[in-house]
């Protein structure tokens, strides 16, 4: 138990990395969205077509438009809508990066329970990223 009112070092390290990455994520969102709205570079699925399809399930949308998902996105990084999606993906990676940052802190402190919890959390989130514990849309 922390017996001072000063937050422990791993907490400060986590706060610092989350703060910087969240700001980068917001800026990336704004820039990528401007690119998307100006269609520069050309989007995979033009927004004027998308608005006619966004009342159908995502599974159907992917089937009709062949929109890439998961690791397939890497092959379409020259499309403005995919670049825009990448900024959301970046936001969704911030917590994982925060956990990777604090893992060495717990190892250094020889704090076995928290080392295991952090490690397990990283594994769970990475499995989610790669869709291993995920929704099979195909």
């Amino acid at each position: 138990m922390n017996n001072t009112n000063q937050p422990p070092s791993e907490q400060l390290a986590y706060a610092k990395i989350i703060y910087h990455l969240a700001n980068v994520g917001i800026i990336a969102m704004i820039i990528s969205y401007i690119l998307y709205m100006t269609d520069c570079p050309q989007s995979f699925l033009p927004i004027n077509r998308l608005v006619q399809l966004w009342d159908i399930r995502s599974v159907e949308l992917i089937r009709i438009t062949t929109m890439p998902v998961g690791l397939d996105l890497i092959h379409h990084l020259n499309r403005s809508d995919i670049i825009s999606l990448m900024s959301i993906i970046f936001i969704s990676c911030i917590t994982i990066l925060g956990y990777i940052r604090i893992l060495p802190c717990f190892i250094k402190e020889k704090d076995l329970p928290y080392t295991l919890i952090t490690l397990l959390q990283i594994i769970v989130l990475i499995l989610a990223v790669f869709g291993i514990i995920s929704f099979d849309s195909h």
């Binding site: 986590y14 989350i18 009342d55 959301i88 928290y114 959390q121």
Partner: protein
């Protein structure tokens, strides 16, 4: 002394009036996607952006999460499929939590050691909740969302918060994990020592909360705070701060299920997230002058209405 009444309702009325005047005619067309004209697509992000400013503003003033207002409202008003609305709800909650967490952690209002074990459990169940939610038909999800909202509204009305719950003895799990600490209460300049109890039932409750957060995309602050405060015995401020950290982990895992299912559309999500951030900042500025009880009741009425709309829509969807 007569206090000057806060003018946030005027702001909302002006905002809604602006939206109505600017987009009123086209808005009616949007309810039937078949009537959509491709030359008015650009108005969509603006409508979502303005609507999200309103949601962020109300969420801040009422002290509840933005996603819990966003998901039922957007699903009741806009002709978007619930998959994309829930996906956006998760990203809204995630971004808000990431934005707030650093300051809370630095000031000791959030506690990482308290967050980590409960976040792990909630994030595992959120994966299954998201997966389950995406496999259900929209009718069932919409109906369940309405019922869940009714439960949340009753929780908001009935739940009592305890600023400094009394914890006689820590449980063995929290002792092993060394959960507890001291925080500086600025309002009284006191050093508040705290510890927790009932960790095992707390873990079970966080499993349920994570599942619901993933299934409906509504964040989980509404449930995290009462469990941390009333079940585990965490001081209210620590509960509010730590809830944000737990939320960021829970929603990260659920968000990946939605991302991998193609249920997050940047055209919907980004204007909503940015609008929410601006609304939150406006709300924070007015918060000091506002009457929280009045705003809370306004939000309760709005949530009640949207829960009824969700139930009716869920019954009528076919």
């Amino acid at each position: 002394m007569i206090k000057k009444s806060p003018n946030y309702f005027q702001f909302i009325i002006v905002l809604l009036f602006f939206a109505k005047v600017s987009f009123g005619q086209e808005f009616s067309k949007f309810n039937d996607p078949g009537n959509l004209s491709t030359d008015i697509w650009w108005q969509w992000p603006i409508i979502l952006f303005l609507f999200s400013i309103f949601v962020g503003f109300m969420a801040t003033l009422s002290g509840i999460g933005g996603a819990i207002i966003y998901v039922p409202f957007v699903s009741s008003i806009f002709p978007l499929h619930l998959d994309y609305i829930r996906g956006t709800g998760l990203i809204i909650a995630l971004t808000g939590a990431l934005y707030a967490s650093p300051e809370l952690l630095k000031n000791g209002i959030a506690n990482l050691r308290l967050a980590l074990p409960f976040a792990l459990v909630a994030s595992i169940s959120a994966l299954f909740g998201a997966r389950f939610g995406l496999s259900l038909d929209p009718k069932t999800v919409q109906l369940s969302l309405g019922i869940l909202l009714l439960f949340i509204v009753s929780l908001m009305i009935l739940s009592k918060k305890s600023e400094f719950p009394i914890v006689e003895k820590s449980d063995s799990l929290s002792k092993t994990l060394k959960i507890g600490g001291i925080y500086h209460e600025k309002t009284t300049s006191e050093e508040i020592s705290w510890k927790i109890h009932r960790s095992p039932p707390g873990l079970i409750l966080f499993f349920i909360i994570g599942f619901l957060a993933g299934m409906f995309g509504i964040g989980a602050g509404w449930a995290n705070i009462p469990v941390l405060n009333l079940v585990l015995g965490t001081p209210l401020k620590i509960a509010i701060g730590t809830s944000k950290v737990i939320l960021s982990v829970t929603d990260t895992s659920a968000a990946w299920v939605y991302l991998n299912a193609g249920s997050i559309l940047p055209s919907v999500t980004i204007p909503s997230v940015l609008g929410m951030i601006i609304g939150t900042k406006l709300g924070v500025k007015i918060l000091v002058k506002s009457n929280p009880a009045r705003v809370k009741w306004f939000v309760i009425i709005l949530l009640l209405l949207s829960s009824i709309v969700s139930v009716v829509k869920g019954i009528n969807l076919g």
